[in-house]
Symmetry: C2
Subunit: 253 residues, 2 copies
């Protein structure tokens, strides 16, 4: 599995990804799931991938090849981020069509999904999720984050802390905590964690971070978070028991 | 879906359950998922159920009938909690066998699972999870909690806060937060929340709690928790960016 998330706020974007890939518990390895495709001062694009690794690698390869051979349509030429998301969706469809029959025969999951965030000159920053079927959705101020992969463990913290008006720096910490919480609860998600921060209208990615397993900062925030959660839960207002007048017993007369 | 959890600590047990059942988003209803079967001063038993409602209701009905008709083997006569868990497992198997063919025909999920916690005279308190296949596992000091149903959202907080040596009162708050976090992130889990606390060697359940949707205490702890999480994430040590020497770009030459 994998866990990637993108957060889109007024000040810009955060994208973060773990690096673990597993085909069963006895075949766990580390692969990069985050990619940048940028043209300085004109576009900053970040991708995160989740799902069948052979499919996502083939899609990223196809995206690269289209740039290399100067195809009319590629990540450096498309005029809007919506076009970029749709173009990635078409690549997913094409590669899945090539392999679907063979993978289905052996019941191998060929699903995948992509996060695409960034900004192209003439547009505001945006964040898209491209589904395995090639269609896509966009983050909005009401729901400013999108997740792919093993999403459930890291969702409560985002639900409680992420707001569109929040500062980019504090959002970056939430993203890291969301990934770290997932790593703590599910061994199929693991380090290194890659994270990038993009400031709106900068058209360049200035902030990158890679945290390895034993990174002192990762250990520090984990400890800090664990202590904070424990303190918070202990300082909760006391429970008032016995609100139920009758025991919850079955009717046995 | 449903979310139930049991926590087994040195001082005793906590069991908690939501009450939502859904067959698609357009058929959501409320059903009790927690049941008590106790014999004062001799045994205190608590069950939580998850999965196909027709199966779990039929299992609970069978358990009740065995008591009513004074069957040799029933929840009031079995000598150990392990026997109780295995007996519930046999009931699950029996009822699933009756319905499996008909449900499978229409691709209806007939899986279910049970939490069984409590204490029988002559034994320490224990907590079991009975799987849909009728087999079971027991909580241990290393992993003192067990969950069934929609378990992922509420797991990080348990992973970070629950320890076997922790006080029962603080564990009860963690359980409530785990369920509330799940309700916040997933609409298939919903109120009322039922929770019971059992003190080791008391052989009677003295603490019960039922929280409806708009319950002032539920609103209060949710606010408290949300504020605490935000404060904790904001007070995290500052990120140090640019640890990566090269951008995570694909190789396009």
């Amino acid at each position: 599995m994998t866990y990637c998330l993108g957060i889109w706020v007024k000040e810009g974007l955060i994208l973060a990804a773990d690096s673990r890939t597993n085909a069963g518990v006895d075949y766990i390895s580390s692969y990069q799931k985050m990619f940048e495709f940028s043209v300085p001062d004109e576009r900053a694009l970040m991708l995160c991938t989740s799902g069948n690794l052979s499919i996502t690698q083939a899609v990223v390869h196809a995206l690269e090849q289209d740039i290399k051979r100067n195809a009319t349509i590629n990540l450096y030429t498309l005029p809007t981020l919506h076009d970029v998301a749709r173009y990635i969706g078409r690549q997913i469809r094409e590669i899945q069509e090539q392999d679907r029959l063979w993978l289905e025969k052996d019941n191998i999951d060929f699903q995948c999904s992509f996060l695409v965030g960034g900004q192209i000159l003439g547009e505001p920053p945006q964040l898209y999720l491209v589904y395995s079927q090639g269609n896509c959705i966009r983050a909005t101020p009401e729901t400013p984050f999108l997740q792919i992969g093993e999403t459930k463990y890291g969702k409560p913290i985002l639900d409680r802390t992420v707001r569109y008006e929040a500062a980019l720096d504090s959002i970056a910490k939430c993203a890291l905590l969301s990934i770290d919480s997932t790593m703590r609860s599910n061994i199929s998600v693991g380090p290194p964690i890659n994270m990038v921060q993009y400031e709106a209208d900068s058209f360049v990615i200035r902030h990158r971070l890679q945290l390895q397993a034993g990174d002192p900062y990762l250990i520090q925030i984990r400890k800090h978070w664990e202590t904070s959660l424990r303190t918070a839960s202990e300082s909760m207002p006391a429970l008032v028991w016995n609100q139920l007048s009758v025991p919850m017993e079955p009717e046995i007369s």
